[in-house]
Amino acid sequence: MITAQRSSSGSSHSPRSPSSQPYLSISVTDPVKLGNGVQAYISYRVITKTNFPEYQGPEKIVIRRYSDFVWLRDRLFEKYKGVFIPPLPEKSAVEKFRFSAEFIELRRQALDVFVNRIALHHELQQSEDLRTFLQADEETMERLRSQETGIFKKKPADLMQIFKEVQTKVSDVVLGKEKPVEESNPEYEKLKNYIFELENHLSEAQKHAYRLVKRHRELGQSLSDFGKAVKLLGACEGDALGKAFSDLGAKAETLSVRLQKEAHQLLMNFEEPLKDYVRAVQSIKATIAERANAFRHQCELAETIKLKEINLDKLMLTRSDKVGEAELEYRELKLESEEATRRFENIVRLMNEEMVRFQDQKTLDMGIAFHEFAKGQARLANNIADAWRSLLPKLEACSS
């Protein structure tokens, strides 16, 4: 499993030679279940190897849990507007009580991919929060986490977003505005459209992929049941025919094991990457929402400034005593507006960069996923054919 994960996360970026270039590689390992019932959670060992001067040493091991990863994601999202923050595996209400081995492994792999993506992102890797996450001792981490999630109960970014959207929508309706201010850049519209469509398509593909995994399992299960039944039938028949039957049954059972294995491979190497990209697209959507927010903020400020300007002009003519105060206010606003514009432009610039990066990454990762899929299916088909073929001479011998 480790090797599979290594190869996928290792090849999703071009590895650098460790000696000459700066490197930061992280691995998430050893999931351990702690606590009981609703309190239960999984802790992971996060191992960092780096030669970055900002870090305390070449190697550091910390223990982290899922909510720590969430903390990191939220912090990054707040600070790096416009950057597509790598997605986290989703929370699961059902698995919370079961923590099946497969779920744990899937999540571990996804978390590994998550931190490594951050570590490889040329901007995100410089983040102070990442350093904290990778190096702070457990108590500090817990304090930080509870600060964020404790009293103020910071909502996940997208929930917040929904809330904000509802708020603006309501206020828009109340104020009689037709619709919220939005960018009318056709290229950007196209991009947005693309992202939304992509999400639909990807999630459909992912759904089917997941079902395929399930089908593999079911087929494996019924093959093994069939094998057992045939074996029993063989035992009932006795002599050479019985032997043939039990051979067939045994083969069916071995194949079922193979199918189960293949199903697992499929889940890990094909379904999971697809799912990962569904999440990634969702994180892009969050960025899009941020951009819309920034744009709106900028517009609002511009509007206010206009009003202030008119006001100021009026004041200039009538009440000269208050001009100084108003002018101060105006200047502040102007600064703020400039800041907002800058922020928005920054987001736009970053997003454009990020889009290119995202497409490259997606092409690579999807290529790998498809390759794995094709390879797995080919391997499976070969195995099945070989297994059945090997049975043929026995049957021939039996019938002659």
């Binding site: 090849s11 071009s14 590895p15 196209k190 693309y194 469509e197 992509l198 459909e204 593909a205 759904k207 089917h208 992929a209 079902r211 395929l212 399930k214 089908r215 079911e218 087929l219 299960q221 019924s222 093959l223 049941d225 069939f226 057992k228 039944a229 045939v230 029993l232 039938l233 035992a235 009932c236 028949e237 025919l241 043939a244 039957f245 889009m355 290119v356 497409q359 490259d360 092409t363 999807m366 290529g367 498809f370 390759h371 899929f373 094709a374 390879k375 299916q377 080919a378 391997r379 499976l380 088909a381 070969n382 099945i384 054919a385 070989d386 059945w388 049975l391 043929l392 049957l395 019938s399």
Partner: protein, 691 residues
Amino acid sequence: MMGSENLDSEEAHMYASREEMENLVLDEPSNNNNGTKSFSDYRSAMSSLADTHHPLSSPMAEPADSDPLLTPPPFRDFRNPNVATDNSSYIEPPSYSDVIFSPFDENAVNEINGVDSPGRSSDSSGFLSKSTSSSSDYVKITVSNPQKEQETSNSLVPGGNTYVTYLITTRTNIPGHNGSEFSVRRRFKDVVTLSDRLAESYRGFFIPPRPDKNVVESQVMQKQEFVEQRRVALEKYLRRLAGHPVIRKSDELKVFLQVQGKLPLPTSTDVASRMLDGAVKLPKQLFGESVAVAPHEVVQPAKGGRDLLRIFKELKQSMANDWGGSKPPVVEEDKEFLKKKERMHDLEQQLSNASQQAESLVKAQQDMGETMGELGLAFIKLTKFENEEAIFNSQRARAADMKNVATAAVKASRFYRELNAQTVKHLDTLHEYLGLMLSVHGAFSDRSSALLTVQTLISELSSLHLRAEKLEAASSKIFGGDRSRIRKIEELKETIRVTEDAKHVATGEYERIKENNRNELERLGRERRADFLNMLKGFVLNQVECVWIDIRPSLVVVSAYRVGISWVTIKARTAVVIESQEAVRFAEVEEQLIPFQLESHYTRKEAEMLEADFKNLQIGVRHDVEGVEKEHMLTKQDEVLVAGVRGMRWDAVELPFQFRENLDGHCNALWRYAARYYIYEGDMPFYEEDR
């Protein structure tokens, strides 16, 4: 008695083919009765009046118990000859098979052929060979051409009842049939009759089970799919009957397959005739010979209201057996049989288990295929979308690869479907044998009911002896004797004699059934072995073949190749430094090619498929390699940004070329291999054009 016999045989004739009656009667010198002609003339006249009269609906015409078909025909070669000779004095002297079949042999063939040739010629293409029939003699049966017909009699609402008849065409080379090819129209009811008759005449045999009577609305009955389903089931059933070594030669089947017009075999399921049947006999039982059972009756199982008294007696006997009070004089002594019965029971359970699992396997395979198809479609959609919306070149390149995988998945789903259909076909043997188990049960219960009859008769006999002894002892005390007592003793002795006879016959029947059971068990064992082996081989071959024809190994690997190759080209185009990883991937691809290299055991279909796939791959690779080539040429430019392969490992650049050469080699070899077949079989290859 003779008169009624003759009447019966004539009746059979009449229903057999009314049109040919004249003909038949004239050419019937072998028939040993003078009255034949007049009777038949009279009958045919009658029949023209009451055209649709079914023999069953008119049981008053003749005493039902003298019908030759209700009593077992004693002249079967496979039966115990002793029994046959014993009974011959009692039961119908002329074998009705002689009466019915001999006239047809020469005369009727032409006429039948003449009448039915158009229908037959259209059906004859549908013949399938039944593997169980031996090569020397064969019976091939096709059921076709279902037709709706109106029930003209027996219905309260005129025209309210319709039924479906099927054309049953038979081809055979077994002597005794009139000709090698003939066809009749039969309805499902007739098949029920046939199976009931067979069940009565061939006790102890494993008679293939009849398709179920479906209790459905008449509207449903008219539905095309129902009719078709039933047609298939009937064909299967009749073929299985014809495959049975003994039943194949049975007169019932011959009559069923050959005799034109209404089926002359009376249905014993008909309630009215049943009741009348029983009623006719009841007085007889109550009068003179009430204590004794007619010897020819005991070979029949006591059921269906034929003989109420006997049923009662046998019930008593079975109660006595069950409650363990008296040990029956004849017990099932054949230990081996008991063991075999036990094994059969086991086998049945395993069979039902296996067939259930087979069903779920088939279901799982089907689901797999469906999901694979859906996945493929989803990918195709995704691909199309990516292609339309693509902003970057790399997206387009990948979209092409994805499309390959997607098409492969769709194709795979199609092959899954094919595989599934084949699997169903092969595993159907399990179901068939499960069905046959029913008839095995029937045969076993025949045996036990025959045993019960024997037991009943024996205990009855012993009680009679006891009474006779008592009477004798009583009469010997009174010297000089009592006339009435002597008469009673005489009567009792007569009864004893009759019962002895009956016992003898019943024992014979029991022995016969035992023998039949034994033979049938052996036959079943043999056939099962063969059939199961065939099934296993078919299943396995099918799995191998289908998986190999299945494009997954070929096309998906091909796609894998293309993914690999496209990868290199994408990398080259985007001038990303290619590390050894790519070389490794290529090596992997090469490795996967090994199993697809030429193997001598490819079938023609496999070779063809692989060849086609390799051709596609060849084209694809050529295209991709050209891309790399272009990059290659660009490398001569010193400009770093333009030089695609600059900084790449040399073997990574070289690999596609090597790969292409290897592939050309594979492809040519396959082509030659496939071509062998084409030349051999004299046709040209055909490729699907969906890539």
